[in-house]
């Protein structure tokens, strides 16, 4: 009488070929989330610094140039889709968007009232961050 022997050779290969695409998607998704979380913080921070730059006597185009350089240095994946820095006597504003692989991932829109004034009467430790 012959015994039926179960062979589990090739299980790993089969498992891998089934699970690998899912694994790639999960890992890529996690890595993308981590990168985009950092990118958001970096983008917002440098947008605010650009606004502060606009509140000084620095020319607007230099503020924009510095903003672009900082985004390019800190975020190697993705690019600035649009940047618009405007300054008038009473306001400085920034509108910018960041894209990865042709998709806009976040936008920023911020404004400062000029001239900059410290809040009178109490210590203001509240920051926009």
């Amino acid at each position: 009488m012959s015994r039926h022997v179960r062979s589990d050779q090739g299980t790993a290969l089969l498992e891998t070929s089934l699970a690998l695409p899912l694994l790639i998607v999960i890992v890529s998704g996690l890595l993308a989330t981590i990168y985009l979380s950092f990118a958001r913080i970096w983008f917002e921070r440098n947008g605010y610094e650009a606004l502060i730059c606009l509140s000084t006597s620095t020319q607007a185009f230099r503020c924009e140039q510095e903003f672009r350089e900082r985004i390019a240095d800190g975020l190697p994946i993705g690019w600035l889709e649009s940047v618009r820095l405007t300054r008038s006597r009473k306001h400085a504003s920034i509108q910018a968007s960041f894209a990865v692989s042709g998709t806009t991932v976040f936008r920023s829109r911020n404004e400062l009232v000029l001239p900059l004034q410290a809040e009178k009467g109490r210590n203001n430790h509240g920051s926009p961050f």
């Binding site: 694994l23 981590i34 004034q117 410290a118």
Partner: protein, 260 residues
């Protein structure tokens, strides 16, 4: 005899789970690194915002003192003119009594005015000199507050941030409140910003601190030897606002753009 039956078969199940277990620490590490970077950026933002706010507030108060000084110049000039008139009247024997009376009256008015001018000048000068130091103290307090979020507040640790640490690793530029006092021998002179006032009124605070000091104790244990420091700075000054001819000049606080 079948040798193969003597050895246990290799179990190939669970390969994917094993792969995930290997990848998970790497992903966690990447997540922790990004979280740490985020924490540092937020800390830097808060400190810069605090520094800018405090320096702007100090410059705003100094600008108020300056405007008051400038407003008093007209009265000071009038009293000097009256004093010169009184002195010239005294020289003439016919008008001497009236001159003496006038001089006494002018002196009585010049005294309080001189006191007010001097008080404003010294207040602005002191503020210009000491404001960066107060800002540095505020920064140290803020850093300690953030540190205490992760550690017990009363615990004294070697790398907790003290004002001394920040003092050794920071540089300050005080403003000089450079005004010309003219005429120098008058009791109530004019106080005017010097030609280099705007340049000399810049206050700057630069600081750096060890990054490890921000993290909880259990992380610090692993990266104790790290000497990585975060540098930052802020600066503020006064800028002149254009005025109409004959109008009093106005100054307003402004941030100064600086590259690290």
């Amino acid at each position: 005899m079948d040798l193969r039956s003597d050895f246990p078969r290799a179990n190939q199940e669970g390969f994917v789970t094993t792969a995930l277990l290997i990848l998970l620490p790497l992903l966690l590490s990447a997540g922790l690194v990004v979280a740490a970077a985020g924490l540092l950026l937020k800390t830097d933002n808060r400190l810069r915002h605090l520094c800018r706010h405090e320096l702007l507030r100090a410059q705003d108060e100094i600008a108020n003192d300056l405007h008051q000084l400038l407003r008093l110049n007209r009265k000071a000039m009038f009293l000097r003119q009256q004093r010169r008139l009184a002195e010239s009247m005294i020289l003439n024997p016919q008008t001497r009594p009236a001159g003496l009376l006038l001089r006494a009256a002018v002196k009585a008015r010049q005294g309080p005015l001189a006191l007010e001018q001097r008080s404003l000048y010294l207040h602005a000068k002191a503020k210009s000199s000491f404001a960066p130091r107060w800002v540095r103290r505020s920064l140290a307090d803020e850093l300690r507050k953030m540190q205490s979020l992760f550690s017990e507040p009363r615990r004294q640790e070697a790398d907790s941030i003290s004002i001394t640490d920040l003092a050794h690793q920071s540089s300050l530029e005080s403003a000089s409140f450079d005004v010309t006092i003219s005429p120098p021998d008058s009791e109530t002179p004019d106080y005017r910003p010097s030609p280099r006032f705007q340049e000399r009124q810049v206050m700057r605070v630069r600081w750096r601190f060890r990054v490890v000091a921000l993290f909880p104790a259990w992380i610090r244990r692993w990266i104790k030897g790290s000497n990585l420091r975060l540098n930052s700075q802020c600066a503020a000054g006064l800028e002149r606002i254009s005025v109409k001819t004959g109008g009093m000049e106005k100054w307003r606080p402004t941030l100064i753009a600086d590259k690290l």
